[in-house]
Amino acid sequence: MTTLDIVMVIVRVSISAFVPLCFLAVCVTMERRVAGFVQDRSGPNRAGIYGFRAGGLVQNLADGIKLAFKEDIISEHVEHKFLYVLAPIISMAAAIISFALIPFADTLVLDGKAYVMQGIPWDTGILWFLAVTGFSVYGIILAGWSSTNKYSLLGALRSASQVISYEIPMGLAVISLLIVYGSINLSDIARFQGQNWLGFIPMWGIFLQPLAAVIFIVAAFAECNRTPFDLAEGESELVAGFHLEYSAMKFAVFFMGEYVAMFASSAVIVTLFFGGYNIPFFSTDFLIRNIKPVAFVMLVILPVFMFYFAKWIRRNNRSQYPRENDPREAEATVYIRCFWILIGVIEVFLLAILAFAQPDTAAAHLLVALMQICTFLLKVTLMLFVYVWVRWTIPRFRYDQLQILGWQKLLPLALLNIFVTGAIVVALG
C-alpha cells in the first residue's frame, strides 16, 4: 500500500463520513429559511457572533451548543437503559453508513491507479442502501419500545410499518432501474448516466424511468419519515412519536440521524435518477481531455457569478426597517470581501492550471474530480431543497391513506413498470 493509497482511503472515508454531517447545518438552515420564505417570514436571522449571522448558520451553532449542554434525562420508568441509549446510535449510524457506497465523483486515476470515489469501494451498490435503511428501523423500534411510553410505542409502530411497507415499492422501482442500467453498482449506474442520448439528452434515470423515479422519490420520502409521511411523530396526536422521551444529545442524535438519512437518500436519488456526479453534457473523459478550455471557462464564469452574488447579498443582507449605520450592511461588506478573496484564490489555481497543466495529468484529474464533487453536492442540495419544499407545501397524510398509497397505488405501479421495462428491454434486444 503506497502513501497515496492511504491518503486516498482517508480522503474518501472522510468525505463520505463528514460531508453528510457537515450538510446537517445546510439542511437545518435550509429547512428553517425555506420554511420562512415559503410562509413570507424570515426564519432565523438574529443569532450572531459579533453581529455575523452567516445567513442563519449561527443559529444552528447555538442550538447545537444548547443541546450538547442540556441535562441528559433518562426517565425512571425506562427499564432497558442499554437499548434506550443504543436506539439513537443505531439510527444515526445506519444513516451515515448508508451513504458509504455512493460515488461522489468518477473513478479518479492517479499515477496510473484507479480509485473508486466511494466511502467503501464495494460493488453491492443499491442493495447496500436498501439493506442499511431497512436496518435503521431497529433504531426507531427500539427507541419507541424502550421508552415505555404509549405515544412513543405508537409512533414507533407507525414508523416501522410505514418504512417496511414503502421498502417494497422502493425495491421494485429499483428493479426496473436495474433492468435498464444492467448493474447494481452505483458507480456503473452513474457512469451509464454520463452518456448522452441522441447527442443532447443526458441519459438520466428520470428520463429513462420516469415512473420509477416518482415511485422511488415518494417511497424515499416515506423512508425518511418526512412530511407528508411523518406520522411517526405526528405532534397533534403523538406529541413527538418515538423520540418523545429523549432529551439533550440523545434527541440531537436522532435529529441528526434523520437529516443524515435525508441527505443519504437525496444522494441515492441523485445517483439513480439525476446523473449522479455527472456534469450534464460533459463526460469525464471530455473534461480531462479539454482541461485548459474548461479551466478558462471557469476562470471567466466564477467572477461573473460572484458579481451577481455580491449584489444579491447587498440587497438582502440589510435591516428592512429604518436604521442608522446599519450594521448588517457592514456585515454584508465583510461577507462579500471574504467571498472575493475565496474566488481570487480559486482563480489563481485555475490560472496555474491554465498555464502549466497538460491534459490527462494528475492535476487535470483532480480538478475534474473536484468539479464533479461540487456538481454532486449541488444536485444533492437541490434534492434536499425538494424535501424541504415538499414539507412546507403538503399536509400530513392520514395513516390509512398512507398505507393505501403504499400498497394499493405504488406497489401495482411499480410491478407494472417492471413488466413494461422488461418488455421494452427484451424487445430492443
Binding site: 420564505f37 415559503v38 413570507d40 416518482v214 428592512q320 419544499w389
Partner: protein, 176 residues
C-alpha cells in the same frame, strides 16, 4: 353577531384532481413562487422586525396589571378578594388589613400577582367592583431569570401608569 360563513365549492372530484400529483405540483408551484420572490428580495416579508419595530398595542389589549389609585395616591383596592376568587389561574394572593387613610375600612396589606401563573384572561379586571385593577399598561414583554421575580408586589403595581388615556380605555372596553 353571526359568524361570516363563506361557502367554498367542494374540490377533488375531477379525474385530473384525483391523480393528485398534478394538484401537488400546483401547490408546490405556489410555495416555490413565494420562496423565490422572498429569496430574490426579502424586503416584502410580512414580518414585524421586533424588537426594533414595536407593535401598536390597542387599548383593550390585556397587558400587565396595575392597581389604580385615588387622586391622593392611596390605592382604590379595598381587598374584597373578588379578583382572587375569580382568578382561574389562582395567581392572585391578597392579604387584607385595616385601612389607615380613612377612605373605607379595608385595604390590601399585600397584593401579589404571580405573572408566571397568570393567563391574562382579564377576569380580575371584570370582577373588580372598585375599578382598582386594570390591565391597560400596554406592557406585553416581561421576562426574568427566576420564578420569584415574576411575582409582582402591590407597590410595583401601584406605581405603574396606564398606557392610554381614560377615553381611549373606555372606548377600548366598548370595542371589546
Amino acid at each position: 353577531m353571526a359568524a361570516k360563513v363563506k361557502q367554498l365549492p367542494s374540490r377533488g372530484g375531477t379525474p385530473a384532481e384525483k391523480v393528485y400529483l398534478i394538484e401537488i405540483f400546483k401547490g408546490m408551484g405556489i410555495t416555490l413562487r413565494h420562496f423565490l420572490r422572498n429569496l430574490w428580495d426579502n424586503s416584502n416579508l410580512y414580518v414585524r422586525h421586533y424588537p426594533e419595530v414595536q407593535p401598536n398595542i390597542p387599548a383593550h389589549w390585556r397587558g400587565r396589571h396595575r392597581l389604580l389609585t385615588h387622586s391622593d395616591g392611596t390605592p382604590k383596592c379595598v381587598a374584597c378578594f373578588m379578583c382572587q376568587t375569580n382568578c382561574p389561574a389562582n395567581c392572585i394572593m391578597i392579604k387584607a388589613g385595616e385601612r389607615t387613610d380613612g377612605i373605607t375600612e379595608k385595604m390590601p396589606v399585600s397584593f401579589t400577582i404571580d405573572l408566571a401563573e397568570c393567563i391574562y384572561c382579564g377576569y380580575c379586571v371584570e370582577a373588580c367592583p372598585e375599578d382598582a385593577i386594570r390591565m391597560d399598561t400596554g406592557i406585553y414583554a416581561f421576562t426574568s431569570s427566576n420564578r420569584e421575580e415574576m411575582k409582582i408586589e402591590m407597590d410595583e403595581m401601584l406605581s405603574l401608569k396606564g398606557g392610554y388615556t381614560e377615553e381611549e380605555y373606555q372606548k377600548g372596553l366598548e370595542d371589546e
